[in-house]
């Protein structure tokens, strides 16, 4: 039953999510770019996954990853949980309008949402837990996201064709 629910593409996306999550929560001092890369990939994958494979179960996935990211990276629950849940919730109630757009427009929406999500997480962390906005980290993250955006979408489209 569970296997039927999970198609091969979904399994691959879940694996990407878990692998990028694992890389994001373990800091590599000498390979810092891996952390930025995996953190950006996680956000991009989650948004793409929600857009093209929406299922009510994704609320639970967003919930679990939100809590885990918060506990591992912030040691308090809020920023990731709020931004992930808000995104899935907004998508749930606007999907019938969003999915009318062409695939190119959806791609642009995905990158805009990723930017917003990252900024929102940093803002919530700053507001709730007093973590200062580190402009260097934010710029690196946004730059990484911009660089990997098109290659990631290309890989995702290949995965979809499996």
């Amino acid at each position: 039953m569970l296997l039927k629910l999970l198609s091969s593409q979904k399994i691959i996306y879940h694996l990407i999510l878990f692998f990028s999550f694992s890389l994001s929560v373990n800091y590599f001092v000498n390979l810092e770019f891996i952390n930025y890369l995996s953190y950006a990939i996680f956000h991009l994958t989650l948004i793409y996954f929600v857009f093209y494979f929406f299922n009510i179960f994704l609320f639970f996935i967003a919930f679990v990853y939100g809590i885990l990211f918060d506990i591992f990276l912030i040691d308090n629950i809020s920023p990731h949980l709020i931004s992930f849940m808000a995104f899935v919730f907004l998508f749930y109630y606007s999907k019938k309008y969003l999915l009318k757009f062409s695939s190119i427009k959806i791609s642009y929406i995905i990158i805009i949402i990723s930017f917003f999500m990252l900024i929102l997480e940093i803002l919530i962390a700053n507001l709730f837990f007093n973590y200062p906005i580190n402009h260097k980290n934010l710029s690196w993250l946004l730059l990484t996201l911009s660089i990997i955006f098109f290659p990631s979408l290309f890989i995702f489209s290949k995965i979809d064709k499996l």
């Binding site: 800091y27 000498n30 919930f63 709020i82 973590y131």
Partner: protein, 273 residues
Amino acid sequence: MNLSFKVKAISKSRFTKNLFVSLIFLVSFFLVFFSKSDYTVINKFKSISNNYLYPITSFIVAPVKIVSKIKTQIYEFRNLKIENSILQEEVMRLKKWQALAIHNNSENKVLKKLLNATNSNLTLVKTTSLVSRNDFMFSKMININAGLKDGIINDMAVVNYRGLVGRTVDTTVGKSRVLLLTDPNSSIAIKTISNENYSLLKGAEDGIHLVSSYIKGEQLPKVGDLVITSGSAQVFPSNILVGKIVKVIKEKFYVLPFVDFKNIDYVQVVETK
């Protein structure tokens, strides 16, 4: 009959979906709320993730860790010649200091005996290794391989050979997390060695320096002053080396910690005698 069954099935599924969504939102709201007020629920989550999920994520990222180590080793190998000459010079310098230290040590022992003073205010609880780091992006934390079973509890001071590293938080049976000095939410009561200026420090925005959050009195310390723990907040024992003042701007001063937070391998958990 058939149509009504279909309608019922859809409405039932929609009801279930909405119920599920509402439930998830309710739980999220409570968790966000509890993270600010009730620590028992949050601590349960933390201990579960620390005990069960960390080993899995560590196992998954093991190849990357190996690559990271190899990169460090290659870098060290490249700089071997320069490092060797630096170390030779340092050995010469330290030999002179050693002679002086031995002389001072014996003198100190005699003076302490005369004053009836204790040798040190620290007791070593556990020397342990670093398991993984979580100081990417937000909080500045590391995970160490010792916990409640080793006698470690929350809010114990963690040091290494260079000075103060941080304090323990989220202690579980076998593991603990250490909140580093550089975390913006850490607070360290310090004093300067030269004129005993009492202040509070927290992690600065750059994640490298410490910045003063409160200064007792109106006099600002000078650049170059050494900073040690004052012991007044009862969290850290007194007289542990923290860092050196590198910048004084307006009403704030910046401290560069002695500990190299990027190269921590082993730490010692200590408590006041």
